[in-house]
Amino acid sequence: MDLARPEVTAPRRGGAAVRLALMAVPVAFFAAFFAYPVAAIVTRGLKADGVWRFGRLWDVLGAPDIRHVLWFTTWQALASTALTLLIALPGAYVFARLDFPGRQALRAVVTVPFVLPTVVVGTAFLALVGRGGLLDELWGVRLDTTVWAILLAHVFFNYAVVVRTVGGLWAQLDPRQEEAARMLGASRLAAWRTVTLPALGPAVAAAALMVFLFTFTSFGVVQILGGPAFSTLEVEIYRQTSAIFDLSTAAVLTIVQFLAVGAILALHAWTVRHRESTLRLVDASGTARRPRGAGQWALLAGVLAVIAVLILLPLAVLVRRSLSAPDLGYYRALTRTDGGVFLVAPIEAIGTSLRYAVVATLIAVLIGALAAAALTRRDAGRFVRGFDALLMLPLGVSAVTVGFGFLIALDEPPLDLRASWILVPLAQALVGVPFVVRTMLPVLRAVDERLREAASVLGASPWRVWREVDLPMVRRALLIAAGFAFAVSLGEFGATVFIARPDNPTLPVAVARLLGRAGDLNYGQAMALSTVLMVVCAVALLVLERLRTDRTGEF
């Protein structure tokens, strides 16, 4: 018996070694560029003269203005989430179950806002509801001083999260489940409530948590639309670090946000693990039908109207405002250096952004693919699942913290990158990795283990198995992941705003700076630059939609 044991355990040990090797690079990456900077900023904030001062926590949390920020952050996130669900769930149904001309294209269109830089979203809504905006021109209505501008911008931004997460599952639910309920005497509504809704529940919860997470940590939108009256934690952290230089308050706020995000992510991981566990899923391509009856036509019309008003209109207004100077004046102004805002012509930000985004994408895909491969391995245990959750953290942890952490932590040996351009792509890749992992994992996990077994029985080495079986199946997912990482890197604002050098601003940073200056020309240039950014992101996304895999991704 003792002789048999090594034979049994040897392959397992080999598997563990492979897994460790796969995980080493992502772990090192996260340790150096995420944990270390965050730890540095917390230390800087809470440690004075070599002594930890945890009392600062209570001092900060007790301050009325901070309590107000916490309260606002929470309730606006709750309100945004509720509003998004209310508006996007009918959309999820329409995209999942109704077949109408242009469905594919429209699904791509509603996803555009999600990859749009938050700065552009803010700018678009400013052009719609702000001073001199479309509503102001037509009816004299301004919302930019109210919380509604923020809430609507959040719905705009997160509509696709609900449509894709919930609608993706909805399309795969077997319609005959509802038919079975109908045959047993349930009305349409009763069948939906008793059969479909419980099946969708976990996906709705997962989508709601994601929306809550994104709105809880919202920065660019609130920064632009919030004015002095409304400030989220993220905006407050930015203000404390860059305007007031109160590091210890910023550090405390960072810790608070860190804990909140950790809790939300844990909840999300739990709901995702329970999702689809007992559902019977079918091919999504066969479940959509032409609309039938007045109810379905009305629903379709309603959803299309909402999309037109809430998603297309802000984008259209943005484009219109950018064109409102004669002879494309705002666009031409982008090519000049005499604006005084930058050292270079704003147009050069396009090249800079693209260069950074390509490098960030390469890093994110490498790190993310390695992590996804490690997470897919059959023998993945509790430790690996923990790693899975860890990978999600950069999605929700204050990008401002990351950027600021980079600034104060990576400026001395052994990691003195202060003067290096690589700092920006590194920070952007950090935000891109979770998207890569989330896109790759479901596809990798869906590769039938027996296919791999069949290949190895036919004589393929583990490496050949990966190349011949896994790679062909995940190639499209890899491309999609790369596209997402690219779009996210392109739009990253919170971290980049800290570390981009004045002579090399990225597009979102340039937009924010232009908006920060008075004058019609600056405003118009911001609109023009946002339009350029939007077009680049939209093109990237439309290319992705062509590549879309049939698995339900989460984004």
Partner: protein, 345 residues
């Protein structure tokens, strides 16, 4: 008056008629089985009766009342889906109680009905079990209990035993027939398996390309298939074209004897394997034995005549010739059927 009647029922998918002017009557307490290959429109017919698929033309009537505009949940018919469609998030009891609950029954009545039906299908005490823990046969029983629980006036079964293994299928089909007979349930079932249809049904309806090809008792259909398609679908391969004149038909297999009242002219003819008798090589059509297959009760022998299609004969094991033997073949008039419809191309 029949419980269910279809009159010119037509369903088109993108211009193609999946259900083409189908007429069908099902009387109360009758068990009708619709038999046909996949794509013949049988499932679409069930969906049309259920109200899940609107008709493009024609009408569906239940108890003489036109069902146009009556939504699926108000038709009072039950449908057992091909893959059962049990609700995975409910336990067995929750599934069976569903239909009763939708009709507004109280908790006590639901529980009583669930227990009653689980007893009926032979799964007493299974109410608390998770659907995922059921075997294929148990799922089938739960699906049946769920469909029967709200007492539908017509129960429809879509490939009721399709996914089960053979021995279980043969046992369950007998149980089903007994159960429906005892309850007096009116049943409309569809299947592609003629054994299942013959064992279950009072009447069999064979469908082809959205049309009814033949309708009759299992015995009638088996004995006198309406045309070459039905004959081949029932598993008869000895179908040949010939010219009938008087009581004999001229075919590639030589002269076949036919009944006295046989239709004359160019026809398709069927010889059942039992009607192919093996004799000495010089006493009939000379054939070489190409293959033999043991079928349990008999041996199926494939015979190759010179310059003519193969023949299948059924013989007792001890009489069966070996592969390569040369035998003679004679045909019996009683097992030869002159088929209707167009001769095969």
């Amino acid at each position: 008056m029949s419980l269910l009647s279809l009159d010119g029922a037509t369903v088109r998918f993108g211009g193609r008629a999946v259900l083409d002017a189908v007429g069908l009557e099902v009387a109360e307490h009758e068990i009708v089985c619709v038999l046909g290959p996949s794509g013949s429109g049988k499932s679409t017919m069930l969906r049309a009766v259920a109200g899940l698929q609107p008709l493009d033309a024609g009408r569906v009537a239940l108890d003489g009342r036109d069902q146009a505009g009556v939504p699926a949940h108000r038709r009072g018919v039950g449908l057992m889906f091909q893959d059962h469609q049990l609700f995975p998030q409910r336990d067995v009891g929750g599934n069976v109680a569903f239909g009763v609950r939708m009709r507004g029954a109280g908790k006590a009545e639901q529980a009583r009905r669930v227990a009653e039906l689980l007893d009926l299908v032979g799964l007493p005490g299974a109410a608390g079990r998770a659907v995922a823990s059921l075997s294929g046969g148990e799922q089938q029983r739960v699906a049946l209990a769920r469909a029967l629980a709200p007492r539908p006036r017509l129960l429809m079964l879509d490939e009721p035993l399709g996914q089960l293994d053979r021995s279980l299928r043969e046992r369950l089909v007998v149980e089903l027939r007994e159960l429906f007979g005892r309850l007096g349930t009116t049943v409309l079932a569809v299947t592609h398996d003629q054994g299942e249809a013959f064992a279950l049904a009072d009447r069999v309806v064979v469908m082809r390309d959205g049309r009814v090809a033949q309708s009759g008792t299992p015995l009638e259909v088996w004995q006198r298939p309406a045309d070459a398609f039905v004959a081949r679908f029932l598993g008869f391969d000895n179908v040949v074209e010939g010219t009938v004149a008087g009581v004999a038909a001229d075919t590639p297999w030589g002269k076949l004897p036919v009944g006295e009242d046989a239709a004359q002219g160019t026809r398709s003819l069927l010889v059942r394997p039992a009607g192919v008798r093996l004799v000495a090589p010089d006493e009939g059509l000379r054939c070489t034995v190409a293959a033999r297959t043991f079928r349990g009760t008999h041996v199926a022998v494939a015979l190759q005549p010179p310059d003519a299609p193969r023949l299948e004969a059924a013989c007792a094991l001890r009489d069966a010739p070996a592969v390569g033997d040369v035998v003679g073949v004679r045909f019996e008039a009683a097992e030869t059927v002159v088929l209707g419809g167009a001769a095969p191309a």
